[in-house]
């Protein structure tokens, strides 16, 4: 029983990690329909910025996290302006390939600046919590809590605020959005900025648990794209449920079947769910 609970906690922490990264992508891919394969790159950059600020300026962890979020947000907005905005009318694959180009660039640039070696960020709250034999680190608890918080915030933003609605409106009909007075250029940049900030926050929170390396975004990329589709495009709760489902599948699949196949199980769940419910778990809300 403790074992089961331990694995459940492991899954929750992993799901939290996935959810945090996926939420940023929900905005640009799920809502704006920009297949931003550079999202993993922004996430990676967030980790490096956090690392750089921590080691370079010696500021507290929270400050480093915020600085990284701001920096990546600005960069993401720039990316929207320079790469995705000019491609807004092109077919999806074009933006996708351009995004991959950006990802290549970011990885190479980071490798050039910080080297290809793994970097490590110290846990801001070290130590573990022992709940009757079930062990969880504070950092993982932080990740779970943060992902839930971010989800609530994002859902509120999208569904309850007018700015949130303008993002969806713009993604569905750019001309229509302009006609009602939306400054689509600003909204586009804002959306990317938010998504970049979310990616950076996710990275800053996860970095202490994992190793920071230039290619860390690639593994995450595929998984979070899968999560968003799994949950249903543009659905915030869908992204969260998808993230935790994937994590549960990986952890318990690995536990009860074979660890060797943990990653396969995750994608098998994706393929299975979509084969049964082609529109994903949650239909896009209105």
């Amino acid at each position: 029983m403790t074992l089961f609970l331990q694995q459940l906690f492991n899954a929750l922490a992993l799901g939290g990690v996935y959810a945090l990264v996926a939420l940023g992508l929900t905005l640009v891919y799920g809502v704006m329909r920009v297949p931003n394969f550079a999202h993993g790159g922004l996430y990676m950059l967030g980790a490096y910025f956090t690392y750089a600020v921590l080691t370079g300026l010696g500021v507290p962890y929270v400050v480093a996290l915020l600085l990284a979020a701001v920096a990546v947000a600005l960069l993401a907005a720039l990316l929207e302006r320079v790469v995705f905005y000019p491609l807004r009318n092109a077919p999806h694959v074009h933006a996708m390939i351009a995004a991959i180009g950006v990802l290549f660039f970011l990885e190479a640039a980071v490798q050039l600046i910080w080297g290809p070696d793994f970097k490590q960020i110290a846990e801001p709250v070290p130590g573990i919590l022992n709940l009757g034999g079930v062990i969880i680190t504070w950092q993982r608890l932080l990740v779970i809590a943060a992902s839930l918080l971010v989800m609530l915030g994002l859902n509120y933003f999208l569904k309850r605020t007018l700015t949130g609605a303008t993002i969806e409106a713009m993604s569905q009909n750019r001309e229509g959005a302009r006609l009602v007075g939306v400054n689509v250029n600003r909204v586009g940049m804002l959306t990317f900025a938010i998504s970049g900030a979310l990616a950076a926050v996710a990275a800053a929170l996860i970095a202490p648990i994992i190793s920071v390396a230039p290619s860390m975004g690639e593994v995450m990329n595929l998984k979070v794209f899968a999560i968003i589709i799994l949950g249903g495009m543009g659905s915030v709760p869908g992204a969260i449920v998808g993230a935790f489902l994937l994590a549960l599948a990986e952890v318990f699949g690995g536990f009860y079947i074979n660890l060797d196949f943990a990653d396969v199980i995750g994608f098998a769940v994706l393929v299975l769910v979509l084969a049964i419910r082609p529109e994903g778990l949650f239909r896009r809300g209105t």
């Binding site: 092109a90 074009h94 190479a108 393929v271």
Partner: protein
Amino acid sequence: MTRPAFKPGLWGWLALFVLAALLPLLKPGGYVLDIAINTMIWAMLAYGLNVMLGYTGLLPLAHAGFFGIGAYAVGILTLKSGWSFWLAWPFAVILCALLGLLLGLVAFRTKGDVFAIFTLGVGVIIQLVINKWDALTGGNEGLNGVPPPQGFLGLDFSKAANFYYVALAALILTVLIVARTRGSVFGRSLVAIRGGEDLARSAGIDVFSHKLRAMMLSTALAGLAGGVYAAYVGFLGSSVTGPTTTFTVLLYLLVGGVGTLAGPLLGTALIYVALQFMKGLQDYQYIVFGPLLVLLVMFAPQGLAGLWDRSRLRRASARTERTVDHA
């Protein structure tokens, strides 16, 4: 079809292939031959992708997986079961077509982006299965020592200069197949599906069965390319069967021109060779290549074949306003 497409025409293709056939006679270095053979292999895969993306308007991201299935089928059958390459190769192609059918039966329940990600998931699964099924595929160690095709007519295919002709023949076959498909009644129906599934359906096209057949053709071509790859490189590892390869080939296709006949070959040749040159830039290669990709997509959205089209159209319309109806 009257939609303008890059068509150097029959003579252009003939000339190209004759020239290509003469290349080994110039006794080029091993490296030149290697590049040429690699270009042909990846171009075939790009043609397979083009059947789906270019003609049917669907983006399948499991293509490297089928390439891998074709390659491993040839590798396993020749290496472990002692089959002749000439038997294993067609078998691999048929296997890929059948598996493509199977994938299509499920995957076509989804549409658009979901289809792309669904197939991406399948691609990842294929790679992981290849990677983990140690007993069959050699797992992470891979398969080493896949033999070159048995020679005939005194041709020893372990020599790159001779193997070159196997690859060239496969490429010619591929181009022929794709060209015929594109210009046919069947091909026009694919274009209709690309233009809008609902509309195609209401026009009386059996969308599902057309998509299935396009998928089979597409994965069969991937298997064809995979077979050549296995016999040429002689070593098979799972890393080449993953999404990275799919995206790389997608890139070739996009740069060359989606939906055109020359695009896949043109794009593969250009990017593959350019990447080889860029290796000299070492740490800076992706610093240059990344932005280059972005620029290409932005300023040549129709690809190189599209650029050619446009300039040719401009020249043509400057001369006369004659309407030519290419069938």
